[in-house]
Symmetry: C2
Subunit: 256 residues, 2 copies
DNA sequence: TTTACATTGCGTTATTATGACACAATGATA
DNA sequence: TATCATTGTGTCATAATAACGCAATGTAAA
């Protein structure tokens, strides 16, 4: 079986290919039907859900490793990812469950780089939910979106990592624009507001929100109105990418 | 010679004690005579200055490793340190200069964990300059304070790390109080303002600064006035540690 | 066809935060 | 005793923010 060979190779010789004791974990956020979502893998070796993660090739920048994982799970290229924190408790090792997993697929090993402790770096990405084709990997039986409000049991400290990522995301919202990767190209003001409300987990005043967002200049109003909608139809907007990028660097200059 | 044995041991067997491919580097900031300073080591193996760094014991939290380095270099215990960023360019390796260094002390090695690429995590600490006794280590010939405005040539990407640390420090100033570890227990309002001005590298209005800082409630005014000073004598203040800690978590709520 | 109504778009007003500056009090030094 | 740089406290104009009003819109119900 191809899987078995691949798995054995990974446990026996992976350390010749990858750096030891260090990994990246990706927090891939999406937004759909007014819910913030995150992409998780079902880890065969643990029987639990896990953040999509990976290792760093010996000659690879860590940022590239994170992008590689993102692309493998979602098919998305050139998405901006940013490290937000290192997680380094000494008990970050899955020796026992890894051994059990190997036993289950008929492999027995005494030593492996995979049995050691791993320090991991969390990376966040905000992606367009509708463009993602979740793909499981050799070590996973499934790859699915979960609502932030309904997270399953997860391995190791992955729930803690997710919690910190959310805190980080909320903080960033005050200094950086959000939405370019999370929303479709055309969107309405209520769409954007709901995104902000979902991430911040609080209601915002519709009129003040509009004034502030418009004030940043990151939006372009289109001469197009949403159709087939109850009540007054809202205008479509799209991001002014140049000004959006500027705001990413310079900050937003207001609080919500 | 004791050094030689210790060095050889480190290069040959360090990987049994420490995690591989990963290190911590400490940015130890101090404040003295209106100058922001940073503690640097003169690395024997490179003949250049370097950030005090170290490796992570196999059963040690990375935060502990950073604190260990801080204590070894400064003698200071229980100082709060915080990770701020990971540096992971693929060329972060000192194989060549390490080999040259070993040759100089009469050791020749083909392989060593120390020749590999290292990913490093930057940690910042703000310490009381007057309480520090800089101590060099086995691999360093000196340990000294440098003014931020006058940094010597440094190994690898350490100058870049310092630059990012300063950016980070400036950003933090808007959300968190600073000074508890940098200033002596008693200090005057002009002292505190000069600290802020030095870090931010800009002048602040004396009266507005005072209003805002007082407004946070992190200061306690003492019934004591600075003596032997020209012109009107300023009051002493000290930090209200409880409210200071609160502000660390909740943020300051204003801009300077 | 008309009416009701939730929603949008564009406003106003009160409150608060901020930046810029005025002035008297202080106390060592001339 | 006078000088003067510095401190402590306060004022005022301006900008940012929160809270709210109201007409326009267009589907859905009457």
């Amino acid at each position: 079986m191809i899987f078995e060979k691949e798995i054995k190779e990974h446990y026996l010789k992976g350390h010749e290919k990858y750096l030891r004791n260090i990994s990246v974990d990706c927090l891939i956020f999406g937004f759909h039907e007014n819910e913030l979502k995150i992409l998780l893998l079902h880890a065969k070796y643990a029987g639990l859900w896990a953040l999509p993660g990976g290792f760093i090739l010996k000659e690879e920048h860590m940022d590239e490793a994170a992008k590689r994982v993102l692309e493998q799970r979602t098919g998305l290229k050139s998405i901006y990812m940013e490290q937000f924190r290192v997680f380094s408790q000494p008990n970050r090792s899955t020796k026992k469950i890894n051994k059990q997993f190997l036993k289950n697929v008929g492999i027995e090993l005494e030593e492996s780089w995979m049995f050691e402790r791993f320090i991991t770096v969390g990376y966040t990405a905000l992606v367009d939910f509708t463009k993602v084709q979740p793909v499981a990997d050799t070590f996973s039986s499934a790859c699915e979106w979960f609502n932030i409000s309904n997270i399953p049991e997860m391995i190791l400290d992955h729930k803690e990592i997710l919690k910190k990522a959310l805190e980080n995301l909320r903080l960033q919202l005050n200094y950086q624009p959000v939405g370019y990767n999370l929303l479709p190209e055309k969107f309405t003001m209520p769409d954007l507001q709901k995104l902000y409300e979902t991430i911040l987990d609080k209601k915002l005043d519709r009129r003040n929100f509009q004034r502030k967002i418009i004030g940043t200049g990151i939006l372009k109003k289109l001469n197009e109105i949403k159709k087939a909608v109850a009540h007054k139809a809202p205008s479509y907007y799209k991001f002014d990418l140049r000004k959006y990028q500027k705001a990413l660097k310079a900050g937003m200059g207001f609080e919500l």
